[in-house]
């Protein structure tokens, strides 16, 4: 049975239906990541689970218990906020021990738990400081420490790394992954960052407009997106989607998608598509070549340096096995007719 289960949960802000009947079952120990465009309801959904937003419909079950209307303080979940939300009037040690002190845990036990967590997070020498005297990265670690000393049922993170610089973000991401391996705690993590989503998640939940578009492992979402939205949301640069008119018509296929790395630049008279090179982005480890097909633009990704020139006429080749097909509503057609891979 699922450890944390959302059954048709709803959220209204006045007339705005921010969360539209979300169903989701999360297993114990799983690392779940919520992704989606800005304003899609990731934070709202997370805060509903946390009990910081009321749930206007549906049911929320934790460990077999209905917690839909339970106050946050009774849910036994821990949250790491984007702004860290440390208690400014308390030292690091007091910040980290606050929950345990409220729960009237014996002082010796608190001391031990806090020092263990501090050690894990490299905070031992800062325990007496107040948050004001810490760097952003250190504050971030205190916020995580405050969550882990409690051993809560579920960890909730709302974009915890977005206030850190790129290097620190990468480093903290690795630490969070390590922490999750060690603690094995059920975690829900909201992020904008695809790399975080792909590397941390056991399963990714893609949200749009308050609805779940797809749930799956990172590679499932990448290889078998359920619809055009997910296909284009996961992967950078995003999947090329072309009208089926450029391919021989097949069944109810409306659009065809192909990832940039599945395309190859070939001679002007070879390949299934023809076009001219409009832009070359040489990133060092890879090169992104934008090709104008006349009616559409596509991006080709290659890992070798290119000899092609701007304005050059080229052909583009792909293996039809890599094509994604979408119907008029944008839904993926998984077992549809094989497309012949010839350009129109």
């Amino acid at each position: 049975m699922a450890f944390l289960e959302l059954k048709g949960v709803e959220k209204f802000y006045g007339k705005l239906r921010a969360i539209k009947g979300v169903n989701l079952a999360i297993n114990k120990g799983e690392f779940i990541v919520f992704v989606g465009p800005s304003g899609c309801g990731k934070s709202t959904l997370l805060r509903m689970i946390a009990g910081l937003e009321t749930i206007n419909g549906g049911q929320l079950m934790l460990d077999g218990k209905d917690i839909t209307h339970e106050p946050s303080s009774k849910r036994d979940l821990a949250m790491v906020f984007q702004s860290y939300a440390l208690y400014p009037h308390m030292t690091v040690e007091e910040n980290m021990s606050f929950a345990l002190r409220l729960a009237k845990v014996a002082p010796e036990v608190i001391k031990e738990k806090v020092s263990k967590a501090a050690e894990k997070l490299n905070l031992t020498s800062y325990l007496e400081r107040t948050p004001k005297a810490l760097s952003g990265g250190q504050r971030q670690r205190v916020a995580i420490g405050r969550a882990i000393v409690r051993q809560p049922k579920v960890f909730l993170f709302d974009e915890p790394l977005s206030n850190l610089d790129a290097a620190l973000r990468g480093q903290t991401r690795v630490e969070i992954a390590k922490l999750h391996r060690e603690l094995g705690a059920t975690t829900i993590y909201v992020t904008h960052d695809q790399v975080e989503a792909m590397t941390l998640a056991d399963r990714v939940v893609v949200l749009r407009d308050g609805m779940i578009e797809q749930v799956g492992t990172p590679l499932e979402l990448y290889d078998r997106p359920a619809n055009r939205f997910v296909a284009q949301f996961i992967g950078m640069p995003q999947m090329n989607v072309l009208p089926v008119g450029m391919f021989p018509k097949a069944g109810n296929v409306y659009e065809v998608g192909i990832r940039p790395e599945h395309l190859t630049i070939v001679g002007a008279n070879e390949g299934q598509l023809r076009g001219t090179i409009e832009l070359i982005e040489a990133l060092g480890n890879e090169t992104l070549i934008h090709v104008n097909l006349g009616t559409a633009m596509i991006i080709v990704r290659q890992y070798e340096r290119t000899r092609s020139q701007l304005g050059e006429q080229v052909g583009v080749q792909f293996d039809p096995a890599h094509l994604h097909r979408f119907d008029k509503e944008g839904k993926a057609i998984l077992d549809g007719n094989k497309l012949a891979g010839a350009a129109a």
């Binding site: 009774k74 949250m79 906020f81 702004s83 405050r146 409690r150």
Partner: protein, 277 residues
């Protein structure tokens, strides 16, 4: 334009003199009051006023003897302290909910509350007097406490609201996630973080209640009279006795001035409505 060191130091002198002048003009009545309190009645009405004389404490002794200063002082202490505490107890939860769970109407409610302060108090005199009379509360400390509390509430809610708004909501949410119930949240987070605001709001209302004269004169005169009524009693029924009036006034304002002196930092901080950190 050239600004030589001479002209800028000249400006500074002018500014300093002007500042002192304004300060002295503002302070002069108070100084005059304090000086007069130590004169005999004869010296007090002398024209031109005497500045060199042998000070006497006679007026203070007489004020206490004739009208029991301590009785009025006690009434002032009780009414202002109790109304301030009561006001904080009512205003803090109101400001808390307005600051942390605002609705579309919150701003309107705040404006409406403040607008009640713009109505002249006389406008409410008759109804409140009649209510107090009917309830048998005329000339009781209880009535004064209720009226002081009510009249200070709008300001208290406003001040606390603006202070609470400076506290990031997420800190309170974090405490809830940490298992804090409403009381824990108040005790361990809101109180320490909002202490500055609560203190300055309390101080200001203490001063306002202490200085309040309109309701004190109209609702309580003898038994429940505050120092304001004591001072007033020296101006009419017994003729104008400048020296005693001054002594009584000085005794009425002295406690709150001493108090204000020690808490001025809090007060100033509070009056900027949390804008300056």
């Amino acid at each position: 334009m050239q600004s030589s060191p001479n002209s800028s130091s000249g400006k500074l002198i002018i500014r300093t003199v002007a500042a002192w002048l304004v300060a002295l003009i503002l302070f002069f009545p108070l100084l005059f009051l304090a000086v007069t309190a130590f004169k005999t009645e004869g010296q007090a009405i002398a024209v031109p006023s005497l500045w060199v004389f042998t000070p006497t404490l006679e007026n203070f002794v007489e004020v206490q003897a004739r009208s029991n200063y301590l009785h009025f002082a006690w009434n002032s202490v009780v009414t202002s302290v109790v109304s301030t505490v009561l006001g904080l107890l009512i205003a803090a939860p109101a400001a808390y909910s307005m600051a942390f769970s605002p609705t579309k109407r919150t701003k309107d409610i705040l404006m409406w509350m403040l607008s009640t302060k713009m109505m002249p108090a006389v406008g409410a005199l008759v109804p409140i007097y009649v209510i107090a009379q009917t309830a048998g509360l005329l000339d009781t400390k209880f009535a004064l406490i209720v009226v002081f509390t009510m009249s200070n509430l709008p300001i208290m809610v406003w001040m606390l609201y603006s202070h609470f708004k400076d506290i990031p909501h997420e800190i309170l949410e974090a405490s809830r996630m940490d298992g804090a119930n409403l009381w824990d949240e108040f005790r361990h987070v809101l109180l320490p973080l909002g202490m500055g605001g609560l203190a300055s709001t309390g101080l200001l209302c203490l001063v306002l209640a202490w200085n309040e004269a309109f309701w004190a004169l109209n609702l309580g005169s003898a038994k429940a009279g505050t120092l304001a009524t004591l001072v007033a009693s020296y101006s009419s029924p017994e003729g104008l006795f400048w020296a005693k009036l001054s002594a009584a006034s000085l005794m009425a304002i002295a406690p709150i001035i001493v108090f204000g002196w020690f808490s001025q930092k809090q007060l100033v901080q509070g009056l900027t409505f949390g804008a300056v950190k």
